[in-house]
Symmetry: C2
Subunit: 242 residues, 2 copies
């Protein structure tokens, strides 16, 4: 049977979703608990790697194992998992379902606190200690919408660079009190791309870059640029579309 799972997690304690040599990944924890339940090694396939400290509301993974009632499986798994990881949904899917290859798009959210430091948002939002021009941020964000070559907005090593054209469906910035809620939806994202897009907007918001600098970054793909790769702790993988 192939199982598709939707998982939410608080990323602060982990080196990321995918197993790595340098520390505990969320994948390690989930595979360990699946082994307890199925009594065999289970390897999960991830829809989207998230970096260290990044959170998720709707990450997706799939795996193959013998049939267990999904309601019971969800209960057992959540009973074994730590408090910062929670399986929201499990369903049995077709054997040829693939959580990564079949994904049609993703929704990321980034939270920025532009007011007084709030201890209750520590690890959950980026704390901005300087004055920002939100209207300028919104103006610059419009440049990202649509199909663009995002070569200047990611950290994938040049040797691995293939096609770096991605389509951003929407880029919304909402201010709620002192909190900026930035929602980015697109067909796919390169390494650190969302964080660099948001970091670039903050550079615009504080006057370090102009709108035309951003335009030039989008057009002049080969130029080496100073990119602001903003903290991971404000980033949330909200949903993967199929």
């Amino acid at each position: 049977m192939r199982y598709k799972c939707i998982v939410s997690y608080k990323g602060n304690a982990y080196v990321g979703f995918q197993s790595q040599i340098n520390g505990l990944a969320i994948q390690d924890v989930i595979e360990e608990k699946l082994k307890i339940i199925f009594r065999e090694d289970i390897r999960i396939v991830i829809a989207s790697r998230t970096d260290a400290h990044v959170h998720a509301k709707g990450q997706v993974f799939h795996f193959d194992a013998r049939e267990i009632d999904t309601y019971k499986l969800k209960g057992s798994l959540n009973g074994l998992l730590p408090k910062d990881i929670h399986i929201r949904d499990i369903e049995i899917v077709a054997d040829d379902f693939h959580c990564r290859y079949l994904s049609r798009g993703k929704w990321y959210r980034y939270l920025i606190n532009i007011g007084e430091y709030d201890p209750l948002l520590d690890g959950l939002a980026y704390q901005c200690f300087y004055k920002v021009d939100v209207a300028k941020m919104i103006e610059a964000s419009k440049l990202f919408i649509g199909k663009h070559d995002f070569s200047a907005f990611n950290t994938t090593p040049k040797s691995e660079k293939e096609d770096q054209v991605r389509e951003i469906y929407s880029f919304d910035i909402l201010r709620k009190g002192d909190l900026l809620i930035i929602d980015v939806k697109g067909d796919g994202f390169l390494r650190h791309m969302v964080r660099i897009l948001v970091g670039t907007l903050l550079d615009v918001a504080r006057g370090r870059k102009s709108i035309s600098d951003v335009q030039a970054m989008l057009e002049d793909k080969e130029k080496e640029v100073l990119r602001f790769n903003i903290d991971a702790c404000g980033l949330y993988l909200m949903q993967i579309y199929y």
Copy 2:
């Protein structure tokens, strides 16, 4: 000089605001940092004791010490304090200002997640695992508004019981997605009172108590009642009014 300070904190790591023998209190941490700055023992006076794990957006305390520029003092203090405690404001007040005696009212907030468990709300909201009737909660909450003897809704030992009449100015329950935001404003609150009021409403919401049971608790002050003293981690001291 008398200093009035507004402080916000994440309460999870502490035994409460006030110093106690059983662990680290927020007061201990603040007094330790004030000693470093003023090079003498400083004793702070608290507006409102908060229990272990309770959070605050607007707790107030005052203390006496020699004059230091309040802007610099705020910066030094926040530089020394850990990430879960933050001084929002410091001002010099009259020598006869008293943060507790002069308080005219308080605003508490309680957060309840009535949807799927969310790892990102762990320690920040009460997770409700049963179905609740929000309309019934709102109906029952109206009974609390106004001046009442809240003897059945606190845990102060009987020997210490004096006047237990308190006035609740407003009791608002707002549903935002799966989150219930409960705002209670009143002239003062007895020990565990907000948590017991909210716990009682949840008993109503799940059918364990009727509206008339709640009415009887308010009228029949001497009767021993089973009270549901709900988790501290969903409680926030929002503001103290002067």
